[in-house]
């Protein structure tokens, strides 16, 4: 029990360390912007006074980090009054700064849009699992049979067709020709169906392949022969023994894919004008060069992903005792 608790504390500390690194990287990313944000936002006609005001308001007049380096001065210690420590202390208060464009708190803008993206990611994950689990098991247990070939073909199609090809095709069939759904937007509850299928298609294909190869690999293991020799039905062998072991890599993939879904949602959101975090990042952040907003969006998506990753790791360890030992 004590060991388990210590292990949990260690994992949690690791997670905080990773988050700290990511925040540092994202905070320093803004320093990569060629030229100054003020000039980019205010335009070439801005007066010196306007630029100074802008920099003072967003804290850009202070040094970037604890120390700086210049060829003529060498290393210079800037003290605690720098953008890096300021962004961190803001973060601890739940403050991601203010948008360069709209002057609204970045956190408010993100929280407005975040639920839509999570909703879309979860819906597409459910679509993917619902398609992949039966298809993968059928394909794996009927290796090289008709079902296997058909399932493999469907899965390969799903992997090979990118979101931005599937999306317009689905819109063409279901919105333009059949007029069952609206082509864009999220006004009605059923509007999530087309985006969820679009976003989930690739994942379902990846999962089908994973489950299929997992099932085939596990079916070749000795314990399966033992289980069969015990007289267990093929159904029990597959669903109770093979699937339990075979799902280990699948869980990892699912965890890793959550981030891919969140990032991939950007494309799906663009196709369907789905008002989520991706569209916020793309249209309000990158297109309008609102770097503070870009910073916030990247940070929030990354932290979501880190938390999901850590949970994946916990589940992974729980599932396979061989890994728990190390």
């Amino acid at each position: 029990m004590k060991y388990k608790f210590l292990n949990f504390v260690r994992q949690f500390a690791f997670m905080l360390l990773v988050i700290w690194t990511v925040v540092s990287l994202v905070t320093l990313l803004i320093e990569l912007v060629p030229g100054s944000p003020a000039a980019t936002i205010l335009g070439e006609t801005a007066t010196t006074e306007q630029i100074d005001n802008f920099n003072a308001k967003h804290g850009l007049d202070r040094p970037a980090f604890f120390f700086s380096y210049a060829t003529d001065e060498g290393f210079v210690w800037n003290g605690m009054d720098n953008r890096y420590s300021e962004y961190f202390s803001g973060l601890l208060r739940g403050d991601l700064g203010r948008s360069f464009r709209t002057d609204r708190p970045v956190l408010d803008m993100i929280l407005d849009r975040y639920p839509s993206t999570i909703e879309l990611a979860i819906a597409s994950m459910l679509v993917a699992i619902a398609i992949a689990l039966p298809l993968g098991v059928l394909a794996g247990t009927n290796k090289n049979g008709l079902i296997d070939n058909a399932a493999s073909f469907i899965a390969l199609l799903g992997i090979s067709l990118p979101t931005f090809v599937i999306g317009p095709f689905l819109v063409y069939i279901f919105a333009v020709k059949l007029a069952v759904f609206s082509p864009t937007g999220s006004a009605n509850p059923e509007d999530i169906i087309l985006p969820a299928f679009t976003l989930g298609a690739a994942l379902s294909a990846i999962l089908t392949r994973m489950i299929r190869s997992s099932v085939i690999e596990e079916l070749g293991e000795d314990y399966v022969r033992t289980a069969r020799a015990k007289g267990l039905s093929e159904r029990t062998v597959v669903y109770k023994h093979v699937l339990k072991n075979g799902l280990i890599p699948v869980v990892t993939i699912l965890g890793l894919q959550l981030g891919v879904l969140l990032a991939g949602a950007i494309i799906t959101e663009k196709i369907f004008s789905w008002q989520g975090l991706g569209l916020l990042l793309l249209e309000d952040g990158i297109a309008k060069r609102d770097y503070r907003l870009v910073q916030g969006c990247v940070l929030v998506i990354s932290i979501t992903y880190i938390v999901a990753n850590s949970l994946t790791d916990l589940v992974y360890r729980r599932l396979d005792p061989r890994i728990r030992l190390s």
Binding site: I30, L32, V165, V171, G220, L256, I266
Partner: protein, 269 residues
């Protein structure tokens, strides 16, 4: 190897040949606009028709293959080499090396979904082929390293490794001659998916307007430009869409076939 593998190899070979000999295969200049010839259907003059600016779609698809392969091959080669090496070391030595790598470094890199990091880098740095490849490599290697680490963790417990140890084989010999050959197979699938993934990532970023800037004929850019007219002129989206799908499909077929070929366990049963 099965029939699908050969189909994959043939398609991949065609794409590679098309990419290499693009200037001789293309029938028109890829950037020349002819607004009088907008949205022409496929014909003898324009095999795949023309796009919204009257440019020849066939020639643009041909040159698009070049961009896709350039990005795909570079990203996969660099990522696989780095990932295999780092993952094997972490899995084999365990201890603090593994803790540092898998607990810290992997998580930091995996904390950015590939596409998001690429988007972030492009947003802050500006677009371009080099930066795009760099971003995809920075993120790509971790997937291989993670798979390799997991495999090495599993394989190093096998009896034949213990036997080699008992016989007095050195660490490097055990790792490279006994563990690696038995651990490397999932990486082949990973690499085939990685090739497909890199081609898709490039197209995705270009689709979002964040990849290789126009008028370069990236398949993703072509799809984005064609999307709004898709209901009326489907051919403009169809050809680059099929090109991406076929290229990705080909590398998937190859990966699948190689895995079956390399795994004696699967071959005999």
């Amino acid at each position: 190897m099965n029939r699908l593998t050969y189909i994959g190899l043939v398609i991949a070979a065609i794409v590679i040949i098309v990419a290499i000999f693009a200037p001789w295969i293309a029938t028109h200049d890829v950037t020349t606009q002819d607004l009088a010839m907008r949205f022409r259907s496929p014909s003898a003059e324009h095999w795949f028709g023309t796009d919204g600016l009257g440019r020849d779609v066939f020639s643009r698809v041909v040159f698009g293959a070049r961009i896709s392969l350039e990005v795909g091959i570079t990203v996969v080669v660099v990522s696989t080499v780095i990932g295999t090496f780092v993952g094997a070391i972490a899995g084999f030595y365990g201890g603090w090396i593994d803790k540092f790598m898998s607990g810290y470094v992997f998580n930091v890199f995996l904390a950015f979904p590939g596409l998001l990091l690429a988007i972030a880098l492009v947003a802050f740095l500006g677009a371009g082929l080099g930066k795009l490849i760099l971003a995809l490599c920075i993120i790509g290697w971790v997937g291989y390293a993670r798979v390799m680490r997991g495999q090495v963790l599993k394989v190093r417990e096998y009896d034949f490794v213990q036997a080699a140890k008992a016989l007095g084989a050195g660490n490097m010999r055990i790792l490279f001659t006994h563990i690696m050959p038995n651990a490397i197979q999932p990486l082949i699938v990973q690499a085939s998916l990685g090739m497909a993934g890199a081609v898709l990532s490039e197209a995705s970023l270009s689709f979002l307007g964040l990849g290789i800037p126009p008028p370069a004929p990236s398949w993703g850019t072509m799809i984005e430009e064609a999307r709004q007219y898709f209901a009326t002129y489907p051919h403009v989206l169809f050809f680059p869409g099929v090109s991406i799908a076929l290229t990705v499909l080909a590398f998937n077929f190859i990966g699948d076939g190689l895995r079956q070929y390399l795994d004696p366990k699967q071959r005999t049963r």
